[in-house]
């Protein structure tokens, strides 16, 4: 593309935005709203996924070793445990260590264990899994191992975590897709009005030999600029809202500390600009086709 053509396309694109100022404003506002809603859901999903990842780390299975096994035999079970495909890690905890841990857990109530020692408990393995959804199946496989007396885990917690993650992810994608379509529609309408205003110009352009691509470019630029403007403003608005929401959450539920916006700012900015670009250009391209038939 020649340099002077680029300047012309930019000038015409900007001019179109101001000629239909209200529609342009409406289009940018809708893009901002759509991006903010999608972005907020994405951030919620991201935080939830982080929380889930943390919870997954804590959602361990306890595989109790048969009391009849010697210490050496109990240690030897590690190989069989690791042979189960979904096992991520398996840490051996001796009966004595388990007793100490339990005492620490009880804290001030540790005197309840008075008169007992490590022999009261069994050797065990603390097992973490790769896929939380297969926890139940993994537990069954572990129980099949000769020397494992019992496997304990919280089915409700594992199932709850998986369900919550799936719901949040599905909602995020659905809302994102829906709002993307709405944004494209808005841009498309704005560009459509601009093309309608300029249908005579387009007819003259066609008649003097302008190529379809030359005619299209200013409208594509218009959509692109609207999309980018929406993306940029939405990013800063999202930043503000997220930071404010973080403060409120910290005030009322300090246990849920949000991931700092700074750590995801670049990703969010790129995502918003890319979505703005796609929405804008798509809106521009899809609109002008019918005005080109001269």
């Amino acid at each position: 593309m020649k340099g002077y053509n680029t300047v012309y396309f930019l000038k015409e694109g900007v001019k179109s935005i101001f000629q239909r100022g209200f529609m342009s404003f409406a289009a940018v506002t809708v893009i901002i709203a759509c991006l903010l809603i999608s972005g907020s859901f994405a951030l919620v999903a991201y935080n939830v996924n982080e929380l889930i990842a943390e919870a997954e780390q804590q959602n361990e299975l306890l595989a109790f070793v048969d009391e009849t096994l010697s210490d050496t035999e109990a240690l030897g079970l590690a190989g069989s445990i690791y042979a189960v495909s979904n096992v991520k890690s398996a840490e051996f905890v001796s009966a004595d260590q388990a007793f100490v841990d339990y005492s620490e857990e009880l804290g001030d109530d540790a005197d309840l264990l008075e008169g007992l020692d490590g022999d009261a408990l069994r050797h065990r393995y603390r097992i973490l899994v790769n896929d939380l959804e297969q926890t139940e199946q993994t537990a069954e496989e572990l129980e099949q191992i000769q020397g494992i007396a019992k496997v304990r885990y919280s089915y409700e917690l594992a199932d709850g975590i998986v369900t919550m993650r799936n719901i949040v992810n599905v909602i995020t994608w659905l809302i994102g897709a829906l709002l993307l379509v709405v944004s494209v529609f808005m841009i498309s309408n704005t560009v459509k009005l601009a093309t309608f205003d300029r249908r005579e110009e387009i007819a003259i352009m066609k008649m003097v030999g302008a190529t379809n691509m030359f005619i299209r470019w200013p409208f594509i630029v218009q959509g692109f600029l609207l999309g980018m403007m929406g993306g940029l403003v939405a990013f800063f608005a999202q930043w503000g809202i997220y930071t404010y929401a973080g403060k409120i959450i910290l005030q009322y539920a300090p246990v849920f500390e949000l991931i700092p916006f700074g750590s995801i700012a670049i990703t969010m900015l790129v995502a918003f600009l890319v979505v703005g670009f796609i929405v804008g250009v798509l809106g521009g391209v899809t609109t002008i086709r019918r005005f080109m038939r001269v």
């Binding site: 020649k2 002077y4 110009e201 066609k206 008649m207 003097v208 030999g209 302008a210 030359f214």
Partner: protein, 226 residues
């Protein structure tokens, strides 16, 4: 150069606009295309500019075989043509200069080239002094001159004028025809579609008459007799 060889044009609504038209217009000619309403004159223009496709026959325009032209080639064909409309079709929010420059701009001409060429053409059509005026500040004759300047700006081989005097009084009409004659004398082929008998008969030019979609007469220095 324009050649129509046994051209037929049927519209989807069943109208048979052209029925075996043969026309040959050589470079540098001045031709009046005349006939009553519905005779097929405008269809001939639309076929030349590739706005419509012939149902049958062969059309050659400035070296382009219009009947088998790919859509990507249409802009190239149109750059060899200049079209003047009865209703001028000027852009209201552009000045005279901008209206003319626009036709250069949209085919990718540089600003430097535009600045060189537009004043020359405005001078040729006698509107150099009104370059900064908007269309609503001009008379009908002046608007048609702007339209002619725009048609001329890309140095076309053929000027197609579709009823160029239809909205003008007899004096302005004569002026416009004289301007087109002057352009023709400078080497550009001019085809004027009209049904105004007085205009045609006051210029001793070739007259191709259409009626009912057929060429009914073709005579150099002829008169409009249909």
């Amino acid at each position: 150069m324009v050649r129509f060889g046994n051209v037929y044009k049927n519209y989807p609504n069943g109208t048979r606009a052209l029925k075996g038209v043969d026309i040959r217009i050589d470079d540098g000619e001045f031709v009046f295309l005349v006939g009553p309403s519905g005779s097929g004159k405008s269809t001939v223009i639309k076929l030349i500019t590739a706005e419509e496709k012939a149902t049958n026959g062969k059309i050659l325009v400035n070296g382009y075989n219009v009947t088998s032209l790919r859509s990507s080639q249409i802009p190239k064909l149109r750059r060899t043509l200049g079209v003047v409309f009865q209703d001028f079709r000027l852009i209201e929010n552009k000045t005279v200069y901008e209206n003319v420059a626009f036709a250069m701009r949209v085919i990718g001409a540089s600003s430097r080239r535009i600045k060189q060429r537009v004043p020359v053409i405005l001078e040729l059509v006698g509107l150099a002094h009104k370059a900064k005026r908007f269309p609503h500040e001009l008379s009908g004759g002046e608007m048609q001159r702007v339209s002619i300047a725009r048609a001329l700006i890309n140095n076309p081989q053929v000027i197609l004028a579709d009823e160029p005097t239809g909205n003008l009084d007899p004096v302005r009409s004569k002026e416009i025809m004289m301007l087109l004659e002057k352009i023709n004398e400078l080497g550009t082929t001019v085809i004027v579609v009209t049904h105004e008998r007085d205009i045609v008969n006051s210029f001793s030019k070739r007259v191709v008459a259409l009626d009912g979609g057929k060429v009914v007469s073709d005579a150099t220095g002829g008169y409009y007799q249909v």
